[in-house]
Subunit: 537 residues, 2 copies
């Protein structure tokens, strides 16, 4: 039994609220999808989106190692000619060997959306497939709303499939376009299609509106469907499409199908993360297999369990999908979990039971102030190191002063959406602690920046850079702010998470305060200090 | 066919990374779960968590209209006595009529985690159930790792069930503790259990590690299981538990089971949102049925479709789950979508085609600067209104000046996690435009605050409050910051989302700038102006 992975992240996935991919983004994602080993990459809809025309042009020079590129479009217009149809011709221009055309398979949609007759829709399907076949394409038919159509009028839904099969379609892809079909109903319909079209290759395309898209996809494969359409991270219109990351991992690890190699599977978490970065979507920590929390253990008895044997509360070895186990530090985890966590962080100082308990207390106090160390490993490490005997910090920020000014011409115009003259300046006093008996040194510096945190960052780097020139290698890659107690309005505590990277590491720090600039500063200070520990001058 | 909803948000759900519920939080959630109509509320584990002891004490005075409260705990210790076991006695002290005990059903876990014999585990199960039954409790057995245990050693897994049935257990809850069982394997095991224990009530408890928890839960119900355990919003350890919101909607709308009333179902979105607020977790927009994007349409042909008939791209009517349709404004949606959107916003000014096209252009330019209007309806409305002839804003912020100061005693101490002396002050010049021929008025005010945005907010309210005293009713309820182009570090563009509310409305505004304070100001200005439109002095 074999199955083809058909990825539609670049077409259906891009329809998700909040996603907007440039041509460059699409090229980068296509490259990684190919590395991952998917068999088809649906690149876009050249007839509907000018950016997609450019994408297909640029892909003509790109080399794909594993995947075949597919262009997507709709059938010819009602009452028109296939050979002169702009959408169908844009599919030819796209220059791919494979094309997928979407067409109605639900009588209601033919009448209400296309506003044409049931017969004309059958002709549109047949003509479009015949035209594309005559141009030498492999043609897949995405039967839109197939399952809803089948349950409303099975004969008509099947006759749509027949129209394309008789015209030479190479596979019938059954689409649960509205995503509302549950597994048992889905299988009923697939079995009827298999009986009606023995030997014709089938595909499945599920959406997650009923929260069962991945299960439906797997059930369809177990039932004999050969092509699965899905999107990385479950991106897609409304609740998203079936999640390709989950589908791949399940096919390989649960059904034992060699859809990708072991090595490719080991890059699954990384590629999922890469796509969310390019799409500028926050990764979903709870995402199956690849999420940051997917193998994170919080309850004390779970942490204890996985310390005893790895698979106690893990359904697969996280390494096979490129993920890792994490033990969380929280009120529900005891000091045992904390000690093991410190081991994971590489802190091998032997804490006594009392020290461990007092550290757990400190963490709780910090959490009450708005800190959250789950994830912010670098800040947790700094918190611990500062309590250890003999720890000497590299610097202290004694004072800062930030001034922000904005002025606007006093026209009768709204104060938004226009070029303003915004200035942000920071003045800092930084104490660099002397090493090996040397005197402390005080530096007072000033800088401006794009906003208060940037100005502060520049001024502090000026002061520290004199002693630690490598500090300029630290790059801030993400910055997140969360209000901890929303009820207090603009005066609420805020928690800032700063993710930094240099050539070799990525680390995450947290700061909390009622002042967003102070919270940012606290996180930045942890980030510098963490880096300086590893790169002493 | 009937099925009971067993909610474990307060116990298993609270194990999710990032969640920490106070007793007060738990009481508030319990109240809403009861309103929603779940049949059981698992309140916590009094033997493991002191907060849960207090919760059960306080629940003894609370009235539940629909739900029965359940206390959760583990079986007696290996080698101990049930009657003197602290965990079992804490279940008695909790004072509930219903208790659920978790116990091993997988031979590997008995040996490796409990470190006891297979026989002793059977005795632990039997003794614990017998003890609780002797105290008059209804007892449910959560068979931990049942499916993994069944596939490893079916006889032993079944003998664990038998030990509790023979001791009087009232239901056997089959737990996919590690969440890695796919639907077909799950059904195999359930059918074997049904054959072995005809007539014994069964329950199902799924985790989402393979991304199929909801589908597994539904399949189990279709197979005859009578109790479903799940958590609101799919909260829970690692990838979470089966999502109770999806389970309820699917049972009612897809399987036609009257698990809750129509009226209760219409509160599903609201209750899901309420729980995420109390848990301080960002709502997941793509969440099936209840997410903000669950009925959001982005692709032009989808928007056109739902305008022609509502169900074109919606599997259910959003109103039945208390959600609503949203048409998104984006590069993929055309001016047609924008016009319909304006109708939704109550802007009935008849835009010409050219005006609509030019507005679409403006939105695109704003998006290129980091704005995103999806969701931020109030800012979109302000953007549109400002382009309409005859629009007169209420005020303009001509200048602001914000000063932030922080000083710290220059000890040899790290610059974090300590009481600092942080000061934030703002000075503003606000122009209030005259109405009906009146002169403009200029007000210069100053205020301090907890951080720069708070100080600015206070100063502006001082100036506007003289003219519009009602402005103090505006409450900021959420504040979110996102870096738009992370690669630019602390100098990147940031997008600020501010959610406001007063007694009657909730509205969301967006601002973007490289300066976080300016971005916040732009969002705040929209929020004030939007409110002033509805509450002219």
């Amino acid at each position: 039994m074999t199955v083809d992975l058909y990825d539609t992240t670049l077409r259906d996935g891009a329809q998700m609220e909040g996603i907007s991919l440039s041509v460059e983004d699409k090229l980068r994602i296509a490259k990684r999808l190919d590395d991952l080993g998917v068999h088809y990459i649906e690149g876009g809809w050249p007839g509907a989106n000018p950016k997609d025309v450019e994408f297909f042009q640029r892909m003509q020079d790109a080399k794909l190692n594993n995947a075949r590129l597919v262009a997507f479009g709709s059938t010819r217009r009602a009452g028109g000619e296939a050979s002169s149809d702009p959408t169908l011709n844009s599919l030819i221009t796209a220059g791919t060997d494979y094309v997928t055309i979407v067409g109605k398979a639900h009588d209601l949609h033919v009448r209400e959306v296309l506003a044409t007759s049931l017969e004309e829709n059958l002709a549109m399907l047949a003509d479009s497939v015949r035209f594309l076949k005559s141009r030498g394409k492999q043609v897949y038919y995405d039967a839109e709303h197939f399952f809803d159509g089948f349950h409303a009028d099975p004969d008509y839904a099947l006759s749509c499939l027949r129209a394309t099969v008789n015209s030479g379609a190479d596979a019938l892809v059954l689409c649960d376009t509205n995503g509302g079909t549950i597994t048992s109903k889905l299988l009923e319909a697939i079995e009827r299609v298999q009986a009606a079209f023995p030997g014709v290759p089938l595909g499945i395309h599920c959406h997650n509106d009923a929260d069962v898209a991945v299960a439906n996809t797997l059930a369809a494969v177990e039932c004999g469907v050969q092509q699965v359409q899905a999107c990385i991270n479950g991106y897609g219109e409304r609740c998203g499409n079936a999640n390709m990351a989950s589908v791949i991992a399940n096919l390989k690890l649960k059904l034992g199908m060699q859809v990708v190699s072991d090595e490719q599977l080991a890059h699954l978490s990384e590629i999922s993360h890469f796509v969310s970065e390019v799409a500028n979507m926050a990764p979903w920590p709870q995402q199956s297999y690849v999420g940051a929390s997917a193998f994170a253990h919080k309850a004390g008895y779970h942490s204890d369990g996985v310390i005893k044997f790895e698979s106690a509360y893990q359904h697969v070895d996280p390494a096979v999908v490129g993920n890792q186990r994490r033990l969380l530090v929280s009120e529900l985890g005891g000091s045992r979990g904390l000690l093991d966590k410190l081991g994971d962080l590489g802190i091998d100082y032997p804490l006594s039971r009392d020290e461990a308990r007092s550290l757990t207390e400190t963490i709780k106090e910090q959490e009450a102030q708005g800190y959250q160390y789950e994830g912010a490993d670098a800040s947790l490490e700094m918190l611990v190191r500062r309590t250890l005997p003999g720890y000497a910090p590299a610097f202290n920020l004694d004072d800062f002063w930030v001034v922000l000014r904005r002025s606007e011409r006093a026209e009768r115009k709204p104060p938004t959406h226009r070029h303003s003259e915004m200035q942000a300046e920071a003045m800092v006093k930084v104490r660099i602690f002397g090493r090996g008996g040397a005197e402390d040194e005080l530096r007072q510096t000033a800088a401006d920046g794009d906003g208060p945190v940037d100005a502060l960052d520049h001024a502090v780097r000026k002061a520290l850079g004199e002693f630690y020139p490598g500090i300029d290698n630290i790059r801030l890659v993400d910055y997140k702010v969360r209000v901890v107690d929303s009820n207090a309005g603009t005066g609420a505590s805020v928690r800032v998470l700063i993710e930094c990277s240099d050539e070799t590491d990525e680390w995450l720090c947290v700061g909390a305060s009622t002042d967003i600039v102070e919270a940012s500063w606290l996180a930045l200070a942890d980030a510098y200090e963490w880096w300086l520990l590893r790169h002493p001058a």
